[in-house]
């Protein structure tokens, strides 16, 4: 990471709230349990600049999904502030939940158009655009297929395309490729990089796959076990998307893994 590259590197530094697409400030969330409230987030803060792609990696159950649900306005924190482009989040966020979120009774095209129907009737023009994007993003011929007729990789392409077409600046992705086998996953990572070039968005990507975060994101945050805190922040020097085998990605991957391992060790010790 040469200093020159670091200086010109994007995104801009945090702090300028006007340039932030998402700000989470001192978020507190706990879930009720029979033996008392169970803390999931204790003063979690995060700022994501407009156009930035941030990856969240961390041990399972550390509260990554909770961070996304708070940012999407689906979960109201007990304390703390959530701002999406300076306003409350509800209605401004395309959030792709973990797992199968496509409507099983609608075709692939019907599912994508459902995202547009939230904002009003779908014009023939919008429908035509959606159809064009199906062929552009490797889905031609599957427009009339139902989700159960599609492979896991195809289903996630449809789900992601739906999230992109929803026309929201902030895109929150919860393990979008988590259920896929390694080969499909690698193919979809390239697909997602291409889609992000086509639809510029501010992205928060939750993933278990450290390499995936390093390939696709401007900044990777390593989270501690619950209640989640940001342990390390890694900013690759080269712009995204990065080639899979690049030395930078491999070096950083080891750094992230060792940070995660240290934390796990510290917790068990």
């Amino acid at each position: 990471m040469s200093p020159a590259a670091a200086n010109t590197s994007w995104p801009p530094a945090e702090g300028e709230s006007s340039k932030n697409a998402l700000v989470l400030r001192e978020i507190h969330v706990s879930f009720p349990r029979p033996d008392g409230p169970f803390p999931v987030l204790r003063g979690f803060s995060l700022a994501v600049a407009l156009g930035e792609a941030v990856g969240l990696v961390g041990p399972s159950g550390c509260g990554k999904t909770t961070v996304l649900r708070v940012a999407a306005g689906l979960l109201r924190p007990e304390r703390g502030e959530v701002r999406v482009r300076g306003k409350p989040p509800r209605g401004q966020v395309a959030y792709l939940p973990q797992g199968d979120s496509l409507l099983p009774w609608r075709t692939a095209l019907g599912n994508v158009l459902a995202a547009l129907e939230v904002d009003g009737p779908v014009s023939p023009q919008a429908r035509k655009t959606a159809l064009e994007l199906f062929s552009r993003f490797g889905l031609s011929g599957f427009e009339r297929s139902f989700p159960r007729e599609l492979s896991g990789g195809m289903r996630q392409r449809v789900a992601l395309l739906r999230a992109f077409l929803a026309r929201r600046e902030l895109l929150l992705l919860d393990e979008p490729l988590g259920a896929l086998d390694a080969l499909t996953r690698a193919a979809l990572q390239d697909w997602l990089a291409e889609a992000l070039r086509f639809f510029p968005r501010t992205v928060v990507l939750v993933t278990h796959d450290v390499e995936e975060a390093l390939l696709l994101c401007d900044r990777v945050l390593v989270l501690s076990p619950r209640p989640a805190q940001i342990l390390r922040e890694i900013r690759p020097a080269t712009p995204r998307p990065r080639p899979r085998g690049s030395p930078e990605v491999q070096t950083l991957r080891l750094q992230v893994l060792s940070a995660l391992a240290q934390q796990a060790h510290g917790q068990s010790g």
Partner: protein, 247 residues
């Protein structure tokens, strides 16, 4: 091939049982007022068909009205119970408990309240339809997976949109299977209502024939009721296949 074989097997079993029945009636010389032979029931069915259909029309009208009213009330109650949480909590044990109430025991009261026309039968059919339908629909509304809803909620979809895009299509198969169960029960309900007090309908015809020891006619009426029930079940089954539970 396998399916054909299984159908053939079932048909053979039915034919065998009918033959046994026919043979026993002939062998033991059973009188018609004890047990009529299948051949006798069949000839009576054909001969009395105009009369049977005449009464069946009344029964079917009661079933249709009862099903419509029961379904309408069931849908309204299910949505109210879904959206007004305390009401739902208060209503659920009542809904479940009321399924145990023997409608048969209530039928004479309904005749007392609604008179001898079709309305007490409609009321019995409606009450019988209402419960499985309301419970099924409520179950369907409550079991919509969260990940289907959250994408639209984050986009800012209001409840009306969520209802149209997610909740209603997700609950529709539950509603239809409730309706399917309800339809066959409504047929039983209307017949029971006619037993208690009526001047028309298949139930009335059965009571009349029974009193005159015309068991062949009783069986013919049962046969027609069975056919109607199977037809109704099949009709709603077709509807159900159009909107399957795709999960």
């Amino acid at each position: 091939m396998d399916k054909v074989a299984r159908h053939a097997q079932a048909a053979l079993l039915v034919l065998g049982l009918l033959a046994l029945w026919e043979g026993s009636c002939w062998l033991f010389r059973l009188p018609v007022y004890v047990l009529p032979a299948p051949s006798r029931i069949f000839t009576t069915f054909i001969r009395d068909l105009p009369l049977l259909l005449d009464h069946a029309a009344v029964t079917l009208l009661e079933v249709a009205l009862g099903l419509g009213i029961g379904a309408a009330v069931g849908i309204v109650v299910a949505f109210l119970a879904f959206y007004i949480r305390p009401l739902g909590q208060a209503l659920t044990p009542f809904l479940v408990g009321s399924q145990v109430v023997p409608i048969f025991a209530v039928a004479p009261l309904l005749v007392l309240w609604f008179g001898y026309g079709i309305w007490p039968k409609v009321a019995v059919a409606a009450m019988i339809t209402f419960f499985p339908l309301a419970i099924n629909l409520l179950d369907g509304l409550r079991s919509v997976p969260l990940e289907l809803l959250e994408f639209f909620q984050a986009l800012g979809a209001r409840e009306g949109k969520l209802l149209r895009l997610v909740r209603v299509p997700a609950a529709l198969p539950f509603l239809l299977s409730g309706l399917r169960v309800g339809a066959t029960l409504a047929l039983v309900g209307a017949t029971i209502g006619e037993w208690v007090g009526a001047s028309r309908g298949l139930g009335y015809l059965m009571i009349q024939a029974n009193a005159r020891l015309r068991m062949d006619r009783v069986f013919a009426a049962v046969l027609l009721l069975t056919l109607l029930g199977v037809g109704l079940f099949g009709l709603l089954g077709v509807l159900e296949r159009l909107f399957p539970r795709r999960r």
